[in-house]
Subunit: 143 residues, 6 copies
């Protein structure tokens, strides 16, 4: 029942390691290799950022039962399209949207819908990001 | 079969009037009196803006069959939370989210979820907007 | 006099086709081949987005007589510089600004002016976008 | 011919005082009492910010001959509408737009136009800001 | 040594309660009653958001030894001024800046400095937020 | 004692030349060759923008004694991370942060800290910008 071993900021304490591993499992379930790649890409430069994206973003938040993955990805699409300048993250989350069962047609429709709220330029950029994701999915696997 | 009577920008041409009426019907279906109130509030100052929010935003876009209303409202919530500074519109769309069957718990969960992508301050502001909407809904009707 | 054939969302209905063709004509008048290229680039992925940029953005809005093209492009420059992250769209609209008679000197002055409202970094990015457009215009035509 | 008396940051050096006075004259020419009120409202808290808005923003930039005041206000409207959350500044600049000869109809048209680039919510907020300005102008002067 | 009792999303599990209490202690050290008031204000509507602002934002991040509180508040000021539309949060963090030893003069100077990166309107809004905080601090305590 | 020779907008007047030279000296002190490169890169396209970044941004503002360079760079980091879409400017200012004595660890910690206020995607982009700067610094000098 007892708990925090070491200071809370120690991302490699047993508690935090368990939290991160749980978050990484959630992330992998949704994003597959792409999600892991994001965390790995931060490991040398900003490991705490990678830890918290996994432990907090996916373990603490994404895995909460109050909203299903499909709904979460729709909120995420709306937020990332509106923010702009987040095309790499948008690509990861368009992939995640596909993974949780949102169709390509729904994704492009969501982008069109978002245009009413954040304007055409952001929607055009999001469409190009979606094209890159769809094209990658259509490519025959390298071997 | 032929069509456009008068120039396309004439928002009161028969064609555009039909488009606007259709959009207003969609808007009323989703937002009830609140949506009409937005369009009405623009009628004196910028009637063309009101026309296009109805005719384009709701008639042309929202009513498209490619994405269900629940999904549209989730994308809208993500976009408006991330944009910031749109609290009046966010309130209208939190009401619309309730109208299309998104629960209060899902709305607050969507706000928490969005915090990962656009930060805590925007999520706190959105929570206060949601409280106002929920409180209004709980108030006994005036008579 | 009667009108809407088929549901409003059908972008290829006679009415919508007429609206889009009108918008494309407006777009071509302002942007020449560049504007068409934007619509074409969306045709495979998000044809409805391309349709609405043409039919709504250019046919319904841009062509309205209440504001001359020069003034519209100045508003557009201000908006796109401030938004940031829209460099491809900014380039198209810097080209459009030249097409409607705004001089290179006025464009760079508009960018400097916008810096007061949205800061130096966005103005520097806009200057680099403008350089690309001006350089393309100076290049001898391929043949 | 020689110049800078005291360090450049001394906003009350003879040079900077001259620069500020020039900027205030430009600001008053455009904004009348409203512009002065903005600078005055900063005098107790952040006099250097007020100084630089006048000396740099209006004296150095706005007064440059490369772009006429009408064009500058159109760029400013586009930028402030797109930024969002700047309604007080937007109101000042809608007033300035009227002062330099942009009509009420052109202002509301500019807001509608900007909606294509930054979405409807920002355009609705800008319309309400414009209404406040127009209403104040219509009010009979207090005496 | 073992740890997570109950699912990670259970914000009242022993582990998460300990994490939140730690975060609230950090928040109280910096923000005093104001910080607690923010968390309390979320308790009815979005308790998980309040939990994560405390547990993650202050417990996990703010308390990390890699950056001193003064530096953290300067980063926060830059971010909140640039975001815009976060005046309530900006007020809390201007208060926190004072609490960690940043002087009033440094805060207004930071706002002036930020104007170069995000423009004058955001800096003017931030100055007004700072005035409200300073005025509240100058008011004699109610009794 | 007297002053402004020529109109204030003449960026090559003796006064403005002195102001710009002073600003360039401040910029070079902080940014070394990188800062000069930014001004130089604007010289052909928008020399007045380059002038004002130097004369106003660095000469008038950065050199003010009210905030030390370390603090200024922390505010700048917060603002640029939050704005997004300013990666080139962020890279210059991460370099400047190193130059004024902010450690690599403090920079990545500042990025993690900013994530609470503007979300993870902007923090991830900033981390990649920081990696590029750190890598360039680690490269053996070309000769």
């Amino acid at each position: 029942m007892t708990t925090t071993v070491g200071p809370q900021y120690d991302i490699d304490s047993p508690d935090n390691l368990a939290r991160r591993r749980h978050g990484q499992a959630v992330l992998s379930r949704i994003d597959g290799h792409q999600g892991e790649a994001v965390i790995d890409s931060l490991a040398d430069m900003n490991p705490a950022l990678g830890h918290h994206i996994a432990a907090f973003g996916f373990g603490d938040i994404y895995d909460r039962p109050g909203l299903d993955p499909r709904s979460r990805q729709l909120v995420t699409l709306g937020a990332l399209i509106a923010l702009g300048g987040c095309e790499p993250q948008l690509k990861v989350h368009i992939g995640a949207a596909l993974n949780v069962g949102i169709s390509r047609e729904e994704i492009t429709e969501a982008i069109l819908h978002a245009a009413c709220y954040c304007g055409f330029p952001r929607a055009v950029n999001a469409t190009f990001a979606a094209r890159e994701v769809f094209t990658e999915r259509d490519a025959p696997p390298a071997n």
